[in-house]
Symmetry: C2
Subunit: 338 residues, 2 copies
Amino acid sequence: MAMKALSRATIYQVAQLAGVSIATVSRALRDSELVTAATRERVRAAAKELRFTPSRLGRSLAEGRHAANGIVFPELVGPYYAEVVLGYEAAAAQLGTSVLILATNGRTDADAAVRELAGRVDGLTVMGRTVGDDLVTELAATGLPIVLLARDPVPGLDTVRAQNTRTARVLAAHLTGHGHRRFVFLGDPGGSPDVAGRYRGVRKALSDEGVALPAPVRLDGFDLEAGQRAARDLIAPGLAVVCANDEIALGVLLAAEAAGLRVPEDLAVTGWDDLLAARFAGLTTVRQPMRELGATAARWLDRRITEPDHPAAARRRILPTQLVVRRSCGTHPPEVAR
Amino acid sequence: MAMKALSRATIYQVAQLAGVSIATVSRALRDSELVTAATRERVRAAAKELRFTPSRLGRSLAEGRHAANGIVFPELVGPYYAEVVLGYEAAAAQLGTSVLILATNGRTDADAAVRELAGRVDGLTVMGRTVGDDLVTELAATGLPIVLLARDPVPGLDTVRAQNTRTARVLAAHLTGHGHRRFVFLGDPGGSPDVAGRYRGVRKALSDEGVALPAPVRLDGFDLEAGQRAARDLIAPGLAVVCANDEIALGVLLAAEAAGLRVPEDLAVTGWDDLLAARFAGLTTVRQPMRELGATAARWLDRRITEPDHPAAARRRILPTQLVVRRSCGTHPPEVAR
DNA sequence: GTGAAAGCGCTAACAC
DNA sequence: GTGTTAGCGCTTTCAC
């Protein structure tokens, strides 16, 4: 009987108890073919009695790998990033690797935090507006596998993103189809590559129809309050407000209600992401495959990690997104569901 | 000029380049007082030239600590867990530790995954319905600091949770105040300690007023679809439907609409969590301090890790929650805002 | 089949 | 002040 297991047992103790060398313990526990069934059993029993679990640190140091990878994202507020991270974690777990998360979240020392993270993982997924391309390039140059997610491509690196520009054009066309001619875009294209793409798409579709899209209205955030504040001194009857994401759009909806403007009769509003709230707010928006974004990044990264000798060309994938028409974009025939 | 930095530099290379021993490199880079300014500079320069960053593995192995801790949660679906995890990450980052996340998410090998995670961290936060108390106790017995989050206490371990029972009583009283007398509870108390507390509170408050609460209606999930399905063959005029969380409640709302029942005239519905969608659905619910839950757990865990010699008694904290009255619970005077 | 021993990259005693 | 050296806990040649 083992008396205590307070300080974790090491491979040496198991070896001693089983009457073998540490090498044999290592082999036996890893199901190597080079051990007798009898020895294996003896070692197993000893390990069990001592409640032995190999030290991750010792193992990683010896193997030269962490069996973990990291994801860096701007913030976990709002369901969007959460869903992406969940998809990532689920895929990584399936591949047998642990996940370290890092939210840069307006942190001033984001670079340092990412560098630190880089030292703990076999590869890194870098999302959107977190750190600059220079750091990404620098880390990639050290041989660290990196996948870019929802972010402008960098030569030589895999990139996964969602369709922005094209669906934004569809969205804009839908709005002009409703007869809208006066537009504003709420959100900072400089704040995220995704938003930049959406802005471009809307502007393009509008200019194709001879409608001008003013410069984007930059907000001090991506959340509901930011949208609400901005909308207050902006909204007016006849306007179509295209928002960078759903939270902003929901803020606009609240502001409109407060101002006594009806949506969509007086004001059209659209979002992006198709959050749960969008459905209940009757918000026209664009759905994106959030989990799939995360899962794809995790799988690609794993491939880069496990096949380092396979320096395949950088891959790029753009996952499709989809316009979801609800009430907020204009008056529809009655059969249009919520 | 360093020619390449493809394979990461080690402390030995820096030592050689600087013409000192590895011990001096270690000291210089860690701002030890035991090095001349001149030496320090020389080492710094060499390290910079080689783009040297100490190996996390080597360092952790030598120090005997990971400088990381983990959080285990059931799933990241729904904004609730995401917010908790964000609060956790933010607090941990401030304390200088990395965060490993693990979503058990219905995984059958949750125990194994948690054991594996336990080997990578200095401490663990275990949330809700993930793994059993037996495993938690076992891990705690090895000396691993553990904090329980949104989960029934285990002797000797710190526990952080949100107020459930008491606010549930307030909620139920509010409903009877509206005149409701027929109730159902949607959600499985066995599926989460939080839900169990909510059910207890509602039942208690009702029985205090001589109203009986039937056995809970167990769902096959905690999401919108589950609520929708369950509501279909359940809802009837005059019923007050108390839901375990907002997503279920939102599902009920959709089912009610489909069935041609008006809320709150024909049917009262309440949720729990105060998701963004609840606001737009006019759903009466209970707000909980999600980020604060995560942040508190992270801070408590850090304290346990950094002060192992301080075997303070197990702490328990119940963070307050708050009833948010909207339209769905009953007809209100006009001044009740959304 | 099994053991001895050499690392993996660092930190921290202990010498000088 | 700086260097030497012994670990930290494992994996993996290389002998036997």
